[in-house]
């Protein structure tokens, strides 16, 4: 990774400015994010760390357009995401984002290949194209031979690799991973991380990853620390803030 300033200029892929998120109302209100400013450039691999309750998952959901901020601006390639409708955000996810979750979130009783081609269905690809792209994505995560096995026949590491294949099959600009190794043992976890690093290097996919494990975060080029809904530290990996 190039040791540039993490606060990039106008060429940033993603820009968060003064993002807040409040849950609940009145007395019971809880501010999960209180003024987040963050810029992410194309091709970065960013790890978001922090203790639980620090707002890192909330930030991740907002970055993934799965949730909307209470206030502040979120620009994705210059587009104000906070002004988009539900359906427009769905289209943004469809065309630019890929997701990997801690719990894999594959469809039950469905083969790896069918799981991977799911996002393509919503992009209107033909059956032929879906099939080939899905197999290609499975090949890139090393699971081509398991294409026709259902989720329950795969190990946790394999399921997460299917999930990664599903996330990258649409060739997204950004891959968002929420604790991708959280449900895996350390060996499988490192395999998954190597896969993600490879995706980032070979395919130039921007990766945003939430984790609380320092050795997992160490794979990233840049680490952002959240504490109490604020960014406490934002540094290129290896530097001390």
């Amino acid at each position: 990774m190039k040791a540039e300033s993490p606060h990039a200029g106008t060429d940033a892929l993603i820009t968060l400015a003064g993002i807040t998120k409040t849950y609940g109302h009145g007395q019971a209100a809880f501010q999960a994010l209180s003024g987040i400013d963050l810029a992410i450039r194309q091709g970065e691999f960013v790890a978001i760390m922090g203790p639980s309750g620090s707002g890192k998952s909330t930030a991740m959901n907002i970055l993934g357009c799965l949730d909307t901020p209470t206030s502040g601006a979120y620009l994705f390639e210059g587009v104000h995401v906070e002004h988009l409708s539900r359906d427009q955000r769905a289209l943004l996810r469809r065309h630019y984002l890929g997701f990997v979750f801690q719990g894999f979130n594959l469809l039950a009783r469905t083969t790896a290949q069918e799981n991977v081609e799911l996002p393509l269905l919503y992009r209107g690809e033909t059956a032929q194209a879906r099939h080939e792209l899905a197999l290609g994505a499975l090949r890139s995560v090393g699971l081509e031979e398991w294409a026709y096995h259902t989720s329950s026949e795969l190990s946790g590491g394999q399921q997460q690799r299917v999930a990664i294949a599903r996330a990258i099959v649409t060739n997204p600009k950004v891959l968002l991973a929420d604790e991708p190794t959280g449900n895996l043992d350390s060996k499988r976890g490192h395999e998954i991380m190597e896969l993600l690093v490879n995706m980032n290097r070979e395919h130039g996919i921007t990766i945003l990853m939430v984790t609380h494990e320092p050795d997992i975060a160490a794979y990233a080029g840049r680490i952002v620390h959240f504490v109490d809904g604020k960014i406490a530290r934002d540094a290129v990996n290896g530097e001390t803030a």
Binding site: A90, R93, F101, Y122, G124
Partner: protein, 403 residues
Amino acid sequence: MMGWTTLLLALREIRRNLMRSFLTVLGIVIGVAAVVTMVTLGNGATQAVSDQITSLGSNLLLLRPGQRLGPGSSSLGAPSFRAADAEAIKSQIGSLTAVAPAVSRTTLVVVGSKNWATSVTGSTEDYFSAGNWKLAEGRIFSPTEERAGKAVCIIGATVRRELFTEHSPVGDMMRIRQFSCEVIGVLAAKGQSAMGRDQDDTVVMPLRTVQRRLTGRLDVTNILISMMDDASTTQVINQVTALMREQRKLADNEDDNFSVQDTKEIAKALSGTIGTMTALLGAVAAVSLLVGGIGIMNIMLVSVTERTREIGIRLAIGAQEKEVLLQFLTEAVVLSAFGGLVGLLLAAVACYFLASLLALPLIFSPGINLLAFGFSAAIGVIFGYVPARRAAQLDPIEALRHE
């Protein structure tokens, strides 16, 4: 995502959740089949009764002792009729074709080593025309035999089947209680009465023979009166009533201690009863449809957790709410329509076999088929769709976290 893809996707989902799909379809199939079968058979029964009315002949009156104000009211205490009453009616009232006094007794009849309990009726030769009976073979008794009280009998098809072999029973002897009688004729089969009684399970003998040898009394249980086609039923009933009051020496302030019933009216009342039964069975079946619906609802609600997560996944990877809903709606419609069609098919098969088993005419009613199909399809679609819609309206992250 256009039509075909949606349909294919829905089919894939149905196959993926085979058990859930099967149970949903089963609920609909049972509901639809039950309602349609019950109502179709009920309509058939009603039709059978109206056929019965036609077969009775339109102009039969039944004179009975006692007042029958309603079902179950007794004729106890009211004096019986005598053969002379029938003769009086025949000689004094015009526009009648037959008047038959009848007395019946259930008794055991024996032929060789076989015996059979049946209803033995004593009457006159008018009985056959009044009751619309035809002979399959042999003859009926003559007026001479009737007057002489000869031991001759005409047997119904059921008695023939139970007691005799292939060969013609005409000329054979049959023992009834202590006496023997000669079989002179066999009646053509009539089948079940509207009440479900086997009309062919009968033996007919001259009135006098039964009175003398079987009942030991001169009483006549009832009198069948058959009118001409152009006779006025009301007028004849009035004449018969007046005549009977006179015969029985009733004072003006006394009530009738007998009743004249138009068998057509009895049959009409009966068909009304069957109509009520049909409605009742239909209601029971409707409950089963409802229970089937609740079953579908349960299955759908139980699977809501899994479906909510699935919807969350689909939304997260970029599906729009309307696309998810279209898919779930298609799935619900396909399942419900399939279940409904199988239900109708099953009902058709069940009706076909049950109707022939119960000897009922098969009447196809499009109305009930459409109604049952529509109702069950609506349940399937609503309960398949509504939970999905709720889930699809959640934030994707909310749906994904659903436990």
